[in-house]
Symmetry: D3
Subunit: 134 residues, 6 copies
Amino acid sequence: MATVKIWTDEEAGADPRVQAVFDDIRATRGSDFVNNVWRALANQPDVLEATWAQVKAVMARPGALDPLVKEMLYMAVSIANGCEYCVHSHTASARAKGMSDEMYSELLAVVGLASQTNALVTALQVPVDPEFKV
Amino acid sequence: MATVKIWTDEEAGADPRVQAVFDDIRATRGSDFVNNVWRALANQPDVLEATWAQVKAVMARPGALDPLVKEMLYMAVSIANGCEYCVHSHTASARAKGMSDEMYSELLAVVGLASQTNALVTALQVPVDPEFKV
Amino acid sequence: MATVKIWTDEEAGADPRVQAVFDDIRATRGSDFVNNVWRALANQPDVLEATWAQVKAVMARPGALDPLVKEMLYMAVSIANGCEYCVHSHTASARAKGMSDEMYSELLAVVGLASQTNALVTALQVPVDPEFKV
Amino acid sequence: MATVKIWTDEEAGADPRVQAVFDDIRATRGSDFVNNVWRALANQPDVLEATWAQVKAVMARPGALDPLVKEMLYMAVSIANGCEYCVHSHTASARAKGMSDEMYSELLAVVGLASQTNALVTALQVPVDPEFKV
Amino acid sequence: MATVKIWTDEEAGADPRVQAVFDDIRATRGSDFVNNVWRALANQPDVLEATWAQVKAVMARPGALDPLVKEMLYMAVSIANGCEYCVHSHTASARAKGMSDEMYSELLAVVGLASQTNALVTALQVPVDPEFKV
Amino acid sequence: MATVKIWTDEEAGADPRVQAVFDDIRATRGSDFVNNVWRALANQPDVLEATWAQVKAVMARPGALDPLVKEMLYMAVSIANGCEYCVHSHTASARAKGMSDEMYSELLAVVGLASQTNALVTALQVPVDPEFKV
C-alpha cells in the first residue's frame, strides 16, 4: 500500500498539470501504459513535473551510452539502494530494451561482487592508491 | 589508514599463497601494478584467494556484457554503497577501459536520477504494477 | 509477516513490564492506539523499555524543535534507510501533527534532491571546503 | 581527493556555461563563495546546470517549509546516506540559517533514534498497521 | 513476487547443473528443504553455482567462529542492508542453530545501538583516534 | 575534521556533566583512554549522557552473548553502514577483547558474503518461504 493515493486515468484527466505529464509519458514512450510511480507522484504536481522532466532528459535523450546500458545502471543503483518497486520497474524496462538472460546473469554477478568487495574494502579501510589520483 | 597492514611486494614475496595471487593479478591484467585492496586482503589469504578468484571469473571472463559496461555497473554500485576506495578504483578502471567524458557525465546523471527516484518511490511506498510481474 | 509474535492487548496484559510500557504509550500520546512496533518489541522487554524510554525522551519532550519538524526529520531518515514500516508510521504521525500537502510535497522534493546530490558528491569524491571547518 | 578536477574561478571563467552557473549561484546566495561541489560538477556542464537548477528550485524558492527546516532535512538524509562532504556542507548551511546548538542537539537525537528504530523494525519485519493505510 | 521464476523441484530435476546444486544443498544441510533464494538463482546457473560454493565454504566449513556466531553476523548485515528475505531466512537459521530469546534480544540491542551511534558519528564526522591506527 | 569541537580533558573538566560521563567511561572500561566519539558528543550533553548510558547498558552488562560476539556484531553493522570511525574503533575493541586473525578473517568472509547475497536477493525480489513464518 502506498502512503498516498494512486491516481486513476479519470482522476488524472481532471487535473490539467497531471494530464499533461501523463500525455507526455505516453507520447515519449510510445505506449499507453503509465506505471504507478507517476500515479503516486500525481499528488504532488511540482514533484511530478520536475521528476518526469529529469527522467525524460536523462533516459530518453540520445547520448554516449546505449539506452539499455543506462537502464542496467538504473537497476544496479536500485538494487544497491534496496528499492523494491524500482528493481521491478527497471528490470522490466531493461528486458523490454533487450537485456538477455545472459546479460542479466552477468549483471547480477557484477552487482553481487561489487557489494561484496565494497564491504571488504570498507571493513579494511583500504587507503586510495596514489595511482588513482587525478 | 587501514585497519590492517598494507603488504609490500617484499612481504608478499615471503608468502607463497599471497605471491601466487599477486602473480596472477599481474598476468591477468598485463600490468605490474597491484592496487591496495589486494595488499590489504593479503592479511587474510583465504579471503584474498576467494575474492580474486571471483573478481577474475566475473570481470575478466568474456561474456554478454562489454568489459566497460561491467566496470560502469561496478562504479554505480560502489557509489550507491558510498565506498570511497571503490569509487576511485573503478572510476580509474572504467577510464582505462575507454569511458569518455560524455559517458561519465551520462553515468553520473543516471546514478543521480536513480538515487532521487529510489528515494521518492520509497517515500511514497508505490505498489508494484501487475504489469511488472513475471 | 514479522520474525516475532505481534502481541495482542490480552497478551500484553499478562506481562506487567509490557503492560506498563503500553500504559505509558497510551497516556503519553493521549490515544488508545498502540501500533505494531511496540507489539513486536514486546517479545524483548529490555529492548521495549529502553526504546520507548528513548522515544519518549526525544520525541515527546518539549525543546527547540517543533514536534512536526522532529517527525519530518524522522521521516527523512526512514526514507533514506528504506524502512517500509517506519515510512508509513512516521508519515501518518507527521500528518496527524499538521503536515500539509504542500509541506509533504516540499519534504519529498528535498529528500529526493538530497539523495541525488549525495550520490553525485560520492561519485566525484568532492573534497570538503576549508570554509566548512569548525 | 576528487575523481575529477576541481575548477578554479579562472578555469570557470573560460567556459561560458560554467561561468553562468557560478554567476547565478553567487547572485542567488548573495555571496562570492562557490563551494567545491559546483567546482567538481563543472567537468560535466549538463549535470552542473541540471543540478543547480534543481537545488535553486527546491531550496531557494519560498514555500510551506522554512529554509532552515529544509536544510535540516537535507542534513538528515546526508547523514543517513553517509555522505561526508554533504554532512559538512549542509551542517554549515544550517548553522548559517540559524540552527542553534540546542536545535542541533535535538536533530542529532532524532536522527540517532530514527536510525536505531529503523534497524529494530527491519530486524523484526513489523507489519504495517491497517490504521496507517491511506 | 520475484523478478524471475521460482523453480520447482520438477523444473530443477530437468537441469543437471541446478539439480547438482540442489542435491549438494540437501546433503550439506541434512535436510530436504531448499529455500527460495536457490530456486530463484536457478535461472542463472553460473551465479547459482558460484554463490552456493561460497556459502558452503564460508558458512559450513569449521573454523574459529562458532556457526551460530556466523549466522548472527549474517543477520546483523542483513538487517543493516534492509534485506527482508535475508532477515527472515537468517533469523530462522540462527534459531535453528540455537539462538535463544535472550541472545536474540541482545543481538537486537547491539544492532539498534550500532545503527544509532553510526549515525551520530557520521553526523559529527568524528576523526579516527591515533590509538586505533595499526 | 569534525563538524564540532573535539573536547580536551581540560575542557571536559570545566563541565560537570561532561566530566561525569568521562569519569564513568574510564571507570567502566578500566582505562584512562576516552576516544574521540565521546569528545565530539561532549558538545551535546543530553546526547552524550543518553548515548553513554545506552552503550554501557548494552555492551558492558553481562548477558547471553559473549562481549567479543557483541563487538563483532557492532563491527558488522558498522561495516554495512560504511562508518569509517566506527569500523576503526570497533575493530580495535574486538582485537582488544580477543579477536584472533583467524576470527577476523572469518568475520570478513561472512560480512562479504552477506553483502553479496543481500544484493542478489534484492535484485531477484525473492519471496519469503512460508517455512520461515513465525
